[in-house]
């Protein structure tokens, strides 16, 4: 069944077959190179695979590993990959250098900060096996520290006008600062979606020191918090990039002793169990990575997980079909929003989401960030 990812990558062409192939190859990694070599022998359309890997942010990691296992790649494709790889390396250098400057500025202003995702996650999870795809930087600061942080970051060119800032603070989890390059998303909550707000204070207080390859000491989320954040983030973006699931797989490989009881407790406390459980279910389905979380769910939660899966598949099926007529568009709208609502933990929150979605559709507007 075609299950192409929906929602945020409308520019993609229809690459369902290549996407399935990509999933099968990524399911072999990071550990099973023999299976990867076997899978590579079955690839017929290498350019389509490279395009799909690019779309999903995994081209560097995958093609390095393919070359390492001796996959017979067309020369022209390798040349094309090398160009992409050099550009990505340069962009990652730029991201890393700017992240250093940002963290230095925040430290100098005595503002606690944690780097989320980005090149630092790439360094920790991908290591020398590739560059992680990031289009911007994400840094978490306390809610009360946003204005001081903006003042500290102004010399780097990051600015937000008062209207944008006020709107972000009242309804979003971050303020997007694109007045300098690379763009920065300054998070004042870890995330806000599925009817809940993951407030920053607790995550910042638990953050752990990490020494980067360049010797700098920065603060990062604890493994349990990072897994939770990456699950919720991927779910909020409808798992549109396979790299987001692969991050989770690599995080599991790096932290085999993750405290699952603690993790589940935190997911319950924050009321994000459904989205987290669904991320784990997709992690198993698409990348063959099992987590103990699924076996810890109650019978009712497992039943609901199957509802999530059915709604997701419905939304995907409709997404992959042409949507020329009004009824096709309406069908996709209903299916995708039912799926989104099913990721909320509480009925009241699901109903509110659906009600607001319908209201905003009638008003010809999309949901504001805080309404999702």
């Amino acid at each position: 069944m075609p299950t192409r990812y929906p929602d945020i990558m409308p520019h993609r062409d229809n690459g369902v077959l290549a996407e399935r192939r990509l999933e099968r190859l990524m399911a072999c990694l990071p550990e099973d190179e023999a299976a990867l070599a076997g899978g590579a022998a079955q690839v017929e359309d290498w350019p389509a695979l490279l395009r799909s890997a690019l779309d999903h942010g995994l081209e560097d990691y995958l093609f390095r590993r393919l070359i390492r296992v001796g996959a017979r790649l067309p020369e022209a494709l390798v040349a094309s990959f090398r160009q992409v790889q050099a550009r990505k390396a340069a962009w990652t250098l730029q991201l890393a250098a700017q992240l250093d400057r940002i963290l230095d500025a925040l430290t100098a202003a005595d503002i606690p900060a944690v780097a989320l995702k980005g090149p630092l996650l790439g360094e920790r999870l991908y290591g020398a096996d590739g560059f992680r795809s990031s289009s911007d930087l994400d840094v978490l600061v306390p809610y009360a520290g946003v204005r001081p942080a903006l003042a500290a970051l102004a010399p780097l060119g990051y600015r937000a006008d008062e209207t944008t800032l006020a709107r972000a603070l009242s309804g979003d989890h971050n303020v997007a600062l694109d007045s300098a390059s690379p763009p920065l998303e300054l998070h004042f909550h870890l995330f806000r979606r599925f009817g809940v707000t993951l407030r920053s204070d607790e995550f910042l207080a638990r953050a752990a020191p990490y020494q980067t390859r360049s010797g700098r000491v920065v603060r990062i989320l604890t493994p349990e918090d990072e897994f939770l954040f990456l699950c919720v983030h991927a779910a909020a973006h409808s798992f549109a990039r396979l790299a987001w699931l692969f991050d989770l797989k690599l995080l599991l490989a790096k932290h085999p002793a993750l405290d699952w009881d603690l993790f589940l407790q935190r997911a319950r406390d924050w009321r994000v169990t459904t989205s987290v459980a669904f991320a784990c279910a997709l992690l198993r389905q698409r990348l063959g990575a099992d987590t103990p979380l699924l076996s810890r769910l109650t019978a009712r939660q497992r039943q609901w997980l199957s509802v999530n899966e059915r709604l997701f598949d419905q939304a995907m099926r409709r997404y992959n079909q042409p949507r020329d007529s009004f009824s096709d568009k309406l069908g996709f709208f209903v299916a995708s929003n039912l799926y989104q609502s099913s990721l909320h933990d509480q009925w009241r929150s699901r109903a509110r989401f659906l009600g607001l979605t319908a209201l905003r559709a009638l008003q010809g507007r999309s949901l504001a960030p805080g309404e999702a």
Binding site: A86, A89, T92, L93, A128
Partner: protein, 87 residues
Amino acid sequence: MTTFRPHPSVVSTEVEDTIVLLHLDTKRYFTLNSTGAAIWKHLSQGKAEDDIVSALTEEYDADASRLAASARRLLEQLEKAALIERA
């Protein structure tokens, strides 16, 4: 004896057997092949040009005068692109 060092605004990363250099001020990037990468590594360790050539002669089975000429060419290019400066 000429000694060069990376320009303070230049960052680099290894990409398998190559090195990608990025000049943070101009945002221009450059890829060095494996020989260029070896030269860059020696240069970053503070070696003078003659010492770089000596080290390359030990690492590569190639004529010393050819290696010296290659190193000179690359250093000129790097200096012209402001990726290195004289120490």
